[in-house]
Amino acid sequence: MLARVAETLYWTARDLERAENLARLLEASQSAALEGDASNGAGGRLVWEPLVQVAGDMKSFLLTHRRADERSVPWFVTFGRDNPDSIAACLNRSRENARSVRDRLPTEVWEGINDAWLELVDWPPARITRDGVYPFCRTIRRSSYLVLGLVEQSMRRDEGWQFMRLGRFLERAERSARLVQGRYAARSDAAGLDDVDPGTWRAMLGDATAHEAYLQVDAAALSPESLSRFLMLDPRYPRSVAFCLGEVENAIEDLVAMDAMPPNPAPMVLARTARDMVETAARKPWGGPEVGDLLERLLARCTSIDAALAESCFIASYERAPAGQRAQASRQAQN
């Protein structure tokens, strides 16, 4: 498969996953902010700041906003022009990438992504303020589910599908890890508070579906430790870091098996060590300062897997579209 196409498919899936993840989180955050301590003036610290941490970083957020609250953050996450990873920006990138490899996607998959974008473009931003974030987030989630379902049901399990799988699960692993990390950071600042407000911890799981999955595993032990362990280490929950890293590793192995990557590539070595970290952690009692340490090492590993993919099988950076290509391309006569 063309290196450029592989990279583009990887990012198409990755950005779509990112948009969906943000929509799920925004929805969960808004609902967590309605009750308990979060509704009593602590919402900024308990709900909105952690969300900004996951969506981007607090420092650059504060450059353009006075504080993180129920007005500034939803706007920042959905349409914020100052946010390169807003839901709108992610969906736009995903769509432009999908367009440039549409010959490699089932037509319906491209149509699904394109329709999602067309719907978002028509969304009056004022409606977020008027109706709350729920209708918006629901639309984004449903578009993503539709596309993902089509990808699963209609695409051959060829290199293209594997690269999309890789992008999707690497993104998901990273977001779940950052979610836990954001919570831990909030807790160490003011230890104790979170324990009395399980609502905001639950927001960590993203949405009701995740919460339901958790309840089946460990409903009795509803605690920050138990929730974070579930999200990090559960081997069967498709959004846990352990599960996602397993998929990343499998995708790379499948790509090697179909000769789409050279044997024993750097991304595979990195993915294996990441899985080792998770497995080691699963054998030990969960909690304490090691969790923060593990989170940092895992996040660094996700970044290096991405970099290794770019280096070993995507198109090298000097071959990226040179400035001016667009202008020339649009002038080519198609008579």
Binding site: L2, E96, R102, L118, E319, P322, A329
Partner: protein, 483 residues
């Protein structure tokens, strides 16, 4: 008597005017032509609002598919009119033979010009005329592509005059665009207007990408088994990008940009995740000059350095071959009937439009004196640009054009203004007459094959004669009916 029978107006056609033009559908007020009778009475079973709703459905489908153009920063669907244009079997047989003949002759002409130059030596076409063509590429002299073929796909624009006579308006032998619309218009038509098919036997067009693939594969360098074909696009910023992606997908071949390719040892390779892979045939949708920055335009960001050399060595086929622009130059057009007689020893089957070469003194004097009734075109113009439609132009515009002609007479031709035929096009909830042309596609592998029908292009503005999609034109599905 019900609506739709001869002489009884349909509500959809209220106030429809034939206006003295040749109308594709009507021979007189409310009198549909024989070919259109079944369609016309079929329409009587649809309410005007139903027809408009179906049209809106297709517009939405085009938008979803991303078959759009940019209109003031907003994406608009490519305009498609739901009423098909019909061509009866006997007329099509004539066109089919004429188009195949024309493309065979033009291909021979290009091969001869970059080879032995017999036609020039025998005085069929002046040497000076061809070698001053914008599309002439000196680097191609002496190159002999596989099968000696230069033209693998051609789009020949046809118009009908006041008497309903089909005439060739121009030839497109470089990167003719629109084949994807032929296939997609039909697909959308089947979904939105299935009833209409029931009354007709329509020649299918869905195999067009397969025909193209076969032609491209036959162009592969000798000895290459299961040759690797790619579509070379300038990228998503190009207006025809949708078509590039569609054709690549339908042919099952990679869609590549210049930066996805590399030349090593005078061979062309794909850059894949696992290394290099040899390329045999490049169906390019990039202008000649941009194909190879090493030997053509050095500022090209779209091409592939070393492609020309790989092509000269016969290691890769570029389709259409570079340099085919010599045969779609509008001054060479005037000589095409002679080119057909010379190379094929046959009489031309298709008429063309009387043409004046402004490089000739007597022609120029005549044209400059009669500009208000002629069409003046730049010889290398395309897409409806660089032309003056005398009857529609202001005196100032005509003067400005006359000045350009005097400064560069070789650069222009003039033609009698053809009063293009018209066809009904839905405007709001009623049909209105608009000018149309037809671009059939000829795919040339072992032998030329004409895709049945082609793209009927519609000038959407009332009275306009310019049908190009780059100028706000729309299209219609075109049905060749079996006998």
């Amino acid at each position: 008597m019900t609506f739709g029978e001869r002489g009884i107006p349909l509500p959809l056609f209220t106030d429809y005017e034939v206006d003295g033009f040749f109308d594709e559908m009507f021979e007189g007020p409310d009198q549909p032509r024989e070919t259109y009778r079944r369609l016309y009475s079929g329409l009587s079973r649809l309410r005007p609002s139903t027809f408009a709703a179906r049209s809106a459905l297709v517009d939405r489908a085009y938008l979803t598919q991303g078959i759009t153009f940019d209109h003031g920063g907003r994406e608009q669907p490519f305009p498609f009119d739901l009423l098909p244009r019909l061509i009866p079997a006997d007329e099509w047989t004539h066109l089919d033979a004429g188009l195949a003949q024309r493309v065979r002759a033009l291909d021979r002409f290009v091969a001869d010009f970059y080879g032995p130059r017999r036609a020039v030596a025998d005085g069929v076409v002046p040497n000076g005329l061809v070698s001053t063509c914008e599309g002439y590429l000196r680097a191609m002299v002496g190159v002999e592509p596989p099968l000696g073929r230069f033209v693998h796909v051609a789009g020949i624009d046809l118009v009908r005059d006041d008497d309903g006579v089909w005439r060739v308006l121009e030839d497109n032998l470089r990167c003719p665009s629109g084949l994807s619309y032929v296939v997609q218009n039909r697909a959308f038509m089947r979904r939105a207007f299935p009833e209409a098919f029931g009354d007709h036997h329509v020649e299918p067009v869905g195999h067009a990408p397969f025909l193209l693939l076969s032609a491209l594969m036959s162009a592969a360098p000798e000895g290459r088994e299961s040759p690797r074909v790619v579509v070379l696009t300038p990228g998503p910023a190009n207006a025809a990008y949708y078509e590039h992606a569609f054709l690549a997908q339908q042919m099952g071949v990679p869609l590549v940009e210049g930066r996805d390719l590399a030349v090593r040892d005078r061979r062309v390779y794909l850059r894949t995740t696992a290394g290099r892979e040899r390329v045999d045939v490049i169906y390019r949708r990039i202008d000649d000059g941009f194909l190879d920055p090493a030997s053509l335009r050095s500022d090209s960001l779209l091409g592939l350095s070393g492609l020309m050399q790989a092509c000269r060595d016969g290691n890769v086929a570029v389709c259409n071959a570079m340099g085919t622009g010599v045969a779609d130059d509008k001054a060479v057009y005037a000589y095409v009937p002679d080119i057909i007689r010379y190379f094929l020893e046959e009489e031309p089957i298709l008429e063309q439009v009387p043409t004046y070469l402004l490089g000739r003194d007597e022609d120029r004097a005549y044209v400059l004196a009669n500009m208000e009734r002629l069409v003046v075109k730049a010889v290398d113009g395309a897409g409806g640009y660089g032309l003056l439609i005398g009857p529609h132009a202001t005196p100032g515009e005509r003067q400005a054009f006359a000045k350009r002609v005097r400064e560069n007479p070789r650069g222009y031709i003039a033609q009698e203004t053809v009063r293009l035929s018209r066809a009904p096009v839905l405007v709001g909830e009623r049909f209105r007459a608009r000018h149309v042309d037809l671009r059939p596609f000829v795919v040339y592998g072992e032998r030329p094959v004409v895709v049945p029908g082609g793209l009927t292009r519609v000038a959407l503005r009332d009275g306009s004669l310019v049908v190009n999609s780059s100028q706000g034109g729309g299209s219609k599905d075109t049905w060749v009916l079996s006998a």
